[in-house]
Amino acid sequence: MRTKHIEIVVAPKDPHYVGDGFRVHNFIPSGYRLDMERMDPFILLDYNSPFYFPPTDKPRGVSVHPHRGFETVTIAYQGKVAHHDSSGNSGVIGVGDVQWMTAASGILHKEYHEEKFSKEGGYFQMAQLWVNLPAKYKMSDPKYQGITNSQINKYQLAGDKGVIEIIAGNYKNVEGAASTFSPVNMFNARLEEGGKAEFTFPSTYNTALLVVDGEINVNGTQTVAENHFVLFENEGEDFSIEATKKSTVLILSGEPLNEPIAAQGPFVMNTRKEIVQAIKDYNLGKFGYLEE
């Protein structure tokens, strides 16, 4: 097996707000080399680095909006998020939990800071990913997987040096908690200082990581700071990370769908015609209804 080298290390861009509750650095899709095609099936990554939200009676968040053609995955590192959607699903995710929502043929949803968290205020830290769906599943039924931290299988590193949480995919024969529509690996590596983990993915898979907390060294050659994103080359299979400080690292590796991508706003389909149809269906109420 060959080493998978770093292609680029990306510093976080200036944050922007999604609604009034998510203050995010956008990594995907953005410009050179982090476009949807290159990162396929990871077509969006917004990261809310730790940010203090003061107490409020009116929960902050994003009001009702539609999605079609992909899945939204929200990973909570600090704070709590409440979710409601037009399929009748709702749930609250807290620290260490994951919400995996399959928008597929169409869903309306809203995401807000959980009520008690809003009232008390506090630090908020989350990652949101959009995972593209294969064409044949884009119009399948919506689905919701609320995954608590206790439901996420974990791989213990030797010497109590850390734990790998397998949100999706497979790590050293430990299966991920979420069901996916194409091969997707998504892990949280929680490493003590000096903790080291090795990863092996097919060279064709698009592979990246985000240093959520701490600082790591990749392949023993490059130090990567907090809030920085690493894209790996599509050559070689193996890479390693070592925590130079106590760290949390989001690891992503997925098989590219290699299908045409047509995207506009909250819709990601295969053709422009399907986007126009999505807009039309949304306007005509075919995604259902959800109270603000």
Binding site: G265, I279, K280, N283, G285, G288, Y289
Partner: protein, 196 residues
């Protein structure tokens, strides 16, 4: 300026030689979300061609409530034509709903283009007639149509704006309350949503 160039060449059928002369006479301006292009009481000196982004024109009544007359996304022109033509203060405000790039079209540009290009002159006539037709339809819808009919017309005219502007702005454009818009959308969903 790609959209504007395409617009001039296809809609106004401007010849390449005429185009080279005219294109020097327009100005591009980048404005941020919320920035004002025309304030109430000002004389509207330009038509604003939206290269990228989104504008709105609106009035503010005595109670401070906003009434949106027009949205303008890519390839739309937003202006107060009568203020420009009669050189009189406008009742309208024009501002940006998104970060926007506009091409500023002055009266001098229109006059010059009309002088050197008969197809532009023709186009400008049609544009004016279209504007009048649109205004008439809009007045009639506001006077006579139900909230649902107004909404159906809106999504035909501006399909993707439901994704780009807040509900209250759409309600303002339709001349209904946000609650009425919400009711219309709910009724449509009840009629058209077929859960699996």
């Amino acid at each position: 300026m790609q959209n504007f160039i395409k617009y001039l060449k296809t809609k106004a059928n401007i010849a390449e030689s005429e185009f080279q002369l005219l294109i020097k006479k327009v100005e591009i301006r980048n404005i941020e979300k919320g920035q004002v292009l025309l304030g109430p009481g000002e004389i509207c000196k330009h038509s604003f061609f939206v290269e990228k982004g989104l504008l709105r024109s609106y009035t503010i009544d005595n109670s401070g409530k906003e009434h949106i007359l027009q949205f303008g996304s890519e390839n739309w022109i937003v202006s107060d034509r009568s203020s420009t033509f009669f050189n009189e203060p406008s009742d309208l405000s024009i501002d940006a709903i998104e970060d926007t790039q506009v091409v500023l079209i002055s009266s001098e540009f229109i006059n010059e283009a009309s002088e050197i290009s008969s197809s532009f002159r023709n186009y400008n006539q049609i544009a004016l007639q279209n504007h009048i037709r649109h205004q008439q339809k809009r007045i009639n819808l506001l006077l006579s149509a139900t909230a649902e009919t107004r909404y159906m017309n809106f999504i035909t005219l501006y399909p993707d704006l439901t994704l780009r502007v807040p509900q209250w702005m759409i309600a303002s454009y339709l001349g209904i309350t946000p609650e009425s818009l919400s009711r219309v959308r709910k009724e449509l969903a009840l009629k058209n949503f077929k859960p699996n």
